[in-house]
């Protein structure tokens, strides 16, 4: 479904990604782990069209999408839930969701999807008319996830969805991710919480200073000594 080949991204003089290759197959959950500054967000940014790659290619559903504009890609079902939620704080909860489905036709189907998001996240339903700026961190993450779902994604890319959440909420968020996946959405998950991410993933990649240093099955990576030391906090 997604094929990234030899991707290089530079910011001015610094190289954030060098020759990164990665793939996600239809129906998988793939996770990308790595330390701060490894280039995880840069990779997602390049895939969804927000960051221009210097070289390399990105294919989505068989088509070359390298350098395509972000708003066109999201209309094709390539959806990013960005790092730090980035909900629209000046809009209401419902408006955030409507904007998530911005390019879909108005009507019963869209309304049903809004209700579906509310049934996944009842806390949002209680706050549907509230300005999103009044939500707590956990609620904001739920709203960001729900907003992503409103576009009916084919590939959902999540950038650190568990960042800054309490352990209870982290579990809830991962539960939702598995639920979304069970409904047929392919997921590319970026996480610093490598233990939880590798736990739900079919496969994983380890990114270090702009390069893929390791890849393999989720359980396999979780058992890897290097990964355990570097990302799972084990000795």
């Amino acid at each position: 479904m997604l094929e990234v080949r030899d991707l290089q991204v530079n910011y001015g003089g610094i190289t954030a990604l060098r020759s990164v290759s990665l793939s996600v197959k239809q129906g998988e959950i793939v996770t990308l782990v790595g330390a701060n500054g490894a280039g995880k967000s840069t990779l997602l940014g390049a895939v969804c069209g927000l960051v221009k790659p210097a070289s390399g290619s990105i294919r989505f559903e068989g088509n070359d999408i390298t350098g395509r504009k972000a708003h066109r890609l999201s209309r094709r079902g390539l959806i990013l839930v960005p790092e730090g939620r980035r909900i629209f704080v000046n809009l209401s909860v419902t408006e955030n969701l409507i904007l998530g489905g911005y390019f879909r036709p108005k009507g019963a189907e869209l309304d049903q999807d809004i209700e579906k998001v509310f049934s996944i996240f009842p806390r949002l339903a209680e706050r549907r008319k509230q300005t999103a700026g009044t939500l707590s961190g956990g609620e904001r993450q739920m709203l960001a996830l729900g907003r992503g779902l409103m576009s009916r994604p084919k590939l959902l890319m999540l950038d650190e969805p568990s960042l800054g959440l309490s352990p209870l909420l982290v579990a809830e968020v991962f539960g939702v991710i598995e639920q979304i996946h069970a409904q047929g959405v392919t997921v590319l998950l970026v996480e610093q919480n490598a233990a939880a991410a590798l736990g739900v993933a079919d496969r994983g990649y380890v990114l270090e200073t702009g390069k893929v240093v390791l890849e393999g099955g989720g359980a396999e990576l979780a058992a890897d000594g290097g990964v355990q030391r570097a990302y799972l906090g084990m000795d």
Partner: protein, 295 residues
């Protein structure tokens, strides 16, 4: 001043304030989403007046056709200016766009001088707006009644777009986060174009009413209303549409009442706007109902 005179002055203040408000909205909307002060806005208004003048005086079209036509064509002009002059600079430092805006302003003024000539043209006031209404000693021009009413209608339509449509939602979201809206499938360039179109159309409406009130037009006529409307936008809290209208009304009212109460200061009327500007920048830079906008 007796009650009748006061009523009369308040109506005049409302009328002038409505005009400032209509023009101020264009500044505030563009600033809200691009953080750009569109210095050419007043000159866009001037072009709108000439379009209406050609339609009404040269082609003898009814005033409302001239008004509508001017709003549509001026909207188009706003979009062309944005796409041609500002869009290539979206990623450039903000000062570049600002300087370009000043350049566009000079360009329009000088094109106006070359094409239309420097001599003012008479702008006939349509019959409906030229009646004198009189009751209880209050005498007002019908234009002074109609302008606030039409302004309210236009403002209501604009607020409907901003708060009840998806394009309006995208505008509001864009004003806070230009990057994330793209992830929702929003074509930011299209939304910016719509913003310029709406702001310019409102400037055309304000300009045409202005020309009916002070019934002549010239290529430099946009400068003063443009500057004052900018002050109104800052007064109300730049980036805020309702604030711009409130700022406009306050400024219009303040000018009229200054002249009415302190006639010896009438000569300072145009300076008042700038005194208020300095005052608000010192005491409440975010304006009356403004909130802090992210960079």
């Amino acid at each position: 001043m007796d009650g009748a005179q006061l009523t009369q002055q308040i109506i005049n203040g409302l009328t002038l304030g409505s005009l400032y408000g209509l023009i101020a909205i264009g500044y505030t909307m563009v600033y809200g989403i691009l953080r750009l002060i569109n210095f050419a806005h007043g000159d866009v208004l001037m072009v709108g007046c000439y379009i209406a003048w050609f339609a009404a005086v040269q082609f003898g079209l009814p005033w409302w056709v001239a008004l509508m036509g001017s709003m549509v064509l001026t909207a188009l002009l706003g979009v062309i200016i944005d796409q041609g002059a500002y869009r290539p600079l979206r990623r450039a430092p903000r000062i570049s766009a600002l300087i370009t805006a000043i350049g566009v302003s000079f360009l329009l003024e000088n094109l106006g001088l070359v094409i239309f000539g420097g001599r003012p043209k008479a702008f006939a006031r349509p019959e409906v707006f030229n009646q004198i209404y009189e009751w209880g000693g209050v005498r007002v021009l019908s234009l002074s009644i109609w302008v606030p009413i039409l302004t309210a209608v236009i403002l209501a339509g604009l607020l409907l777009i901003i708060y009840r449509t998806r394009v309006g939602m995208a505008m509001r979201a864009l004003s806070r986060d230009m990057v994330t809206v793209q992830l929702m499938g929003v074509d930011t360039n299209r939304i910016v174009a719509i913003t310029f179109a709406l702001g310019s159309a409102l400037a055309a409406a304000g300009g045409v009413f202005w020309a009916m009130k002070y019934p002549q037009i010239n290529p430099l006529m946009g400068i003063l209303p443009g500057l004052k409307a900018f002050v109104a936008a800052v007064l109300g809290g730049i980036g805020n549409v309702v604030g711009a209208m409130i700022g406009g009304l306050l400024l219009g009212m303040a000018e009229i009442l200054l002249v009415a109460w302190l006639p010896e200061l009438a000569g300072y009327r145009d300076a008042l706007a700038f005194v208020l500007l300095i005052g608000i920048l010192i005491f409440k830079p975010t304006g009356i109902i403004g909130q802090e906008l992210p960079e």
